[in-house]
């Protein structure tokens, strides 16, 4: 009786520990308030972390892009990027963001449960790399256009060959109307009178000869040197043409082509600006020390003030002095932000960017971009996984369904085949589930879709230890042993097989953990926890049930097994 008591106490302690680990606790989440700012809010949640594939979210792996020159101190650069990304994500508010270094040169970002994965990705991506680049003042790219056209035509590339024939009447997607007014280091009167909108107008700007060939007719002249406008619906075609090796080869050395981040609307149509920029930046975000958004008292427009380090200020002063009256593009992650402003005069270490009638939120976003943009090299996304929230919900529903059906079937089989002993084992199955989930919560492991599969699978496997024991008891009974002796021998003799076979399974699961990323790791953890708790339930809990049963019936001659 004493052994039974102490066994029950041990089981009780395990149960209490698991329930405690799983108990709903108060968590703080940052949610956007009515004014657009983030504020803390608390909810109670069961202490089980759900993976991205179950609650939706985004997983990104990032690396330093060293295609434009090696980074001197890679470790430091990664650490800085890590910090930058953390700050940014905190500012934007995600429940439990994970930002960590993977190996020497990779950063993994996981934003779970965000309602809009695209925005989350944008946040991380935009934090990458800020450059100030001059536009192609001398028209180097424009001079190269005829050659590019000829090369494309020679290669048989045409708008039609790229599989795109959009009627002129095709509805163009609504474009954000915020052609931001940017003023840097002083007021600039922007000339918008030359806004293109009609083809002949563009022809004037570019010169009639450019209308021949596959590419040029798609480019309209912009309002500044180096700016071209592409009708929104033609963007993919132009992008595809420029991606062709024939075209890429002919883009002049020292010139890069960058798309604008926002569309411009001209009349009823919407255009995406394409910029030819001088590749060498006159300044990078590295030297930016501070940036702040505010609403201008007079114009009520949003403004971002920024400040450069002393060294950065000197360089900037020199460069802007050389480029007075030229246009400078603010390039973030290879996307030109708003309209490149004109440099009116030399700028030192302080400047401001006016955003016109953009909202304060936009200005705050840009300020954050500038602040966080101080990366020594751009980051590139080497791996992305995004899961929409509804897919995750479906997965949970389907997984739960499969789990319940699997469980019921297994219970039926075991109870039918092993009768009373089977029922004792089945009675231990809820404890098995509790131990597994409790272990999950205690380890802070993340439950993933393959993890759910692993759980269902391990319900089947959990029975194995019981099967080994029961078969052994049957054999011992067949040898003519008394019930009590047979039960003891059954548990004892099955031990070796249970331990040896499970240790090897755990070994393989450990390697699975090592090889896998998020979802597969969840599977490996479930498998390991499942095996451990199935051993505990089969060897310890079921045995206790047996002992209790036998204790009440001292003279038992036959066992229902």
């Amino acid at each position: 009786m004493d052994t039974i008591k102490s066994r029950l106490v041990a089981i009780g302690i395990l149960i209490v520990l698991c329930v405690w680990a799983l108990w709903p606790r108060i968590v703080t989440v940052r949610v956007p308030g009515p004014d657009g700012r983030m504020r803390d809010s608390t909810t109670r949640e069961v202490n089980l972390k759900k993976g991205l594939d179950l609650q939706g979210g985004i997983h990104l792996a990032l690396e330093l892009d060293e295609s434009r020159g090696a980074v001197a101190n890679r470790g430091e650069a990664i650490d800085r990027a890590l910090k930058v990304i953390r700050t940014r994500i905190d500012e934007f508010g995600v429940a439990e963001p994970l930002v960590q270094k993977l190996g020497a040169g990779r950063i993994v970002v996981e934003l779970a449960g965000i309602s809009d994965p695209a925005r989350g990705k944008e946040i991380v991506q935009r934090s990458a790399y800020l450059e100030f680049q001059m536009t192609d003042e001398d028209g180097v790219f424009r001079q190269a256009l005829p050659a590019i056209d000829r090369a494309l035509a020679a290669a048989g590339v045409s708008e039609r060959s790229l599989g795109r024939a959009v009627a002129d009447s095709a509805p163009s997607p609504a474009a954000p109307s915020s052609a931001a007014e940017d003023i840097l280091g002083g007021p600039v009167a922007r000339d918008t009178s030359r806004a293109p909108g009609r083809r002949d107008n563009a022809a004037d700007t570019l010169g009639g000869s450019l209308l021949q060939g596959p590419l040029s007719p798609l480019l309209f002249g912009g309002s500044m040197p180096g700016q071209y406008l592409v009708a929104e619906e033609k963007v993919p075609v132009v992008e595809a043409m420029l991606a062709r090796p024939e075209a890429a080869r002919l883009v002049p050395r020292g010139i890069v082509l960058r798309w604008g981040s926002e569309a411009l609307s001209r009349g009823a149509r919407s255009f995406r600006p394409l910029y030819a920029l001088v590749e060498r930046p006159i300044m990078t975000g590295e030297y930016l020390t501070n940036a702040q958004a505010r609403l201008d008292q007079l114009t009520t427009g949003a403004v971002v003030d920024f400040q450069l380090s002393r060294r950065g200020g000197r360089t900037f002063e020199r460069e802007t002095g050389r480029h007075v009256n030229d246009y400078m593009a603010i390039v973030l992650d290879q996307k030109v932000q708003s309209q490149p402003p004109v440099i009116r005069s030399q700028i030192g270490s302080r400047g401001q960017i006016e955003l016109g009638n953009a909202s304060l939120q936009d200005a705050q976003d840009l300020a954050l971009v500038l602040k966080a943009g101080s990366l020594p090299a751009p980051l590139q996304i080497v791996e992305e996984r995004t899961v929409g929230p509804s897919l995750g919900r479906d997965s949970i529903a389907q997984g739960t369904q499969a789990g319940i059906v699997g469980l019921v079937l297994v219970v039926l089989i075991v109870a039918t085949y092993y009768r009373l002993a089977g029922l004792l084992a089945v009675a231990a199955l809820p404890l098995y589930a509790l131990f597994t989930l409790g272990g999950f919560a205690a380890l802070g492991a993340t439950l993933t879709l393959p993890g759910v599969a692993g759980f269902v699978l391990s319900i089947g496997m959990a029975v194995d230890a019981n099967v080994l024991i029961f078969e052994r008891i049957r054999e011992e009974l067949a040898l003519g042993k008394s019930v009590r002796l047979a039960v003891d021998a059954g548990f004892k003799m099955a031990m070796n097989a249970i331990v040896d076979s499970n240790v090897t399974t755990i070994l393989t699961a450990l390697f699975l953990y090592w090889v896998g990323t998020g979802p597969v790791r969840g599977f490996a953890v479930t498998l390991i926890l499942g095996i451990l708790s199935s051993m505990i339930t089969a060897i310890f809990v079921t045995r206790t049930f047996f002992l209790m049963y036998l204790e009440r019936r001292p003279g038992l001659q036959t066992l229902s097994i």
Binding site: A61, E63, P117, A118, L162, G163, P236, V237, E239, A240, A243, Q380, I381, V382, E383, E384, R385, T386, G388, S390, L391, S395, Q398, G399, V405, G406, L409, V410, I413, V414, Y417, P450, A453, V456, L457, I459, G460, M461, V463, D464, V467, L468, E471, R474, A478, N496, A497, D500, S501, V503, T504, L507, T508, A509, F511, W514, V515, G516, V520, L527
Partner: protein
């Protein structure tokens, strides 16, 4: 009381040649297919590339989608209905010759969503899942997966050599290697996509098969002590038969749980469930028809000391009578 295979006495070892032939008949053509005609159908996690899963709000045909994507410069996109006629998985590439640089997968996924929005309107689709993997990450993963399988072999070998004897470990590992080949053959015939989850399935098969083999070997170890007069083949056969009820029972419950997964857990898990269903079958098969005969072959070729410290086969029965 229901009992299956109670007091079974099948001559499993006697059927080993038929079993070898059957397994060769299954595995060899698949290996030829893999080597000569086409490799495994790796998922983009391994090859690098872009996958976009979309759910349409109205019924759209795969060919409409294909045509729309082609107009957006994504010719040759592979489109697959995924579970329901409104769910599609799109595997696309921008450049003709696979994914070239790290950023391309990103650009491709953006292009797919842009194109669909332009062609069908913003409300026609929701993007359920995006996977964009650069080629470098994929290559690393392939190496790691192979490494994990090999290392798990090594670890098992060491553990079994320590707990049993080296030859038990060798037999178990060879049987498991057979299971991997058989599972790969199955994957080839079914043309399943080899994703990381499927590799996880294969590693789980490794675990299950070893588990199954070890239960038999554990009984062999025990019986070697118990029936010291029997020859090795007899003990092997007896052990396989004695553990047969457990083998069938456990295999049965695991398969039942797997069938629930296969039928109900959705499209993402299905390949994994298939691999596991087959793996449980082949793991059970190999424990009986591969692992045990190999152990016997090793014993015959290199008669060694076994767990009880004497030669397993004691030549004249009378000589050992006094033990």
């Amino acid at each position: 009381m229901i009992r299956i295979f109670a007091n079974a006495n099948y001559d499993f070892l006697g059927y080993r040649r038929i079993a070898y032939f059957a397994t060769g008949f299954f595995v060899v053509p698949a290996m030829l297919i893999l080597l000569v005609f086409r490799g495994l159908n790796y998922s983009i996690e391994f090859t690098g590339g872009t996958l976009v899963q979309v759910a349409a709000t109205r019924v759209v045909s795969a060919s409409d989608l294909r045509a729309a994507l082609a107009r957006g410069g994504l010719a040759g996109a592979e489109i697959q209905a995924f579970g329901s006629p409104r769910d599609f998985v799109i595997r696309a590439r921008l450049s003709a010759r696979g994914t070239v640089d790290q950023q391309e997968a990103q650009r491709t996924s953006a292009r797919v969503t842009e194109t669909l929005t332009q062609e069908f309107g913003a409300d026609a689709f929701t993007v359920e899942r995006v996977e964009a993997v650069g080629p470098k990450v994929g290559g690393e993963l392939r190496q790691k997966a192979l490494g994990a399988i090999l290392l798990s072999f090594l670890a098992t070998l060491v553990y079994l050599a320590f707990r049993f004897e080296l030859r038990f470990g060798v037999a178990a590992v060879l049987a498991t290697a057979h299971d991997i080949l058989a599972t790969l053959a199955f994957v080839t015939y079914m043309n399943l996509e080899v994703s990381l989850v499927v590799v996880g399935g294969i590693l789980t098969v490794v675990g299950y098969s070893l588990n199954d083999t070890i239960v038999i070997f554990d009984r062999v170890r025990e019986n070697l002590h118990k029936y010291k007069r029997d020859d090795f083949a007899g003990i092997l056969g007896r052990s396989v038969n004695e553990t047969l009820p457990r083998t069938v029972m456990t295999g049965g419950t695991v398969i039942v749980a797997l069938l629930a997964l296969l039928a109900l857990a959705g499209e993402v898990i299905r390949p994994f469930a298939w691999v596991m269903v087959f793996g449980v079958f082949t793991g059970t098969f190999s424990s009986i028809f591969i692992a045990a005969p190999i152990l016997l072959a090793i014993e015959r070729r290199w008669p060694g000391k076994d767990a009880r410290g004497v030669k397993a086969r004691v030549a004249p029965a009378g000589a050992a009578g006094g033990v």
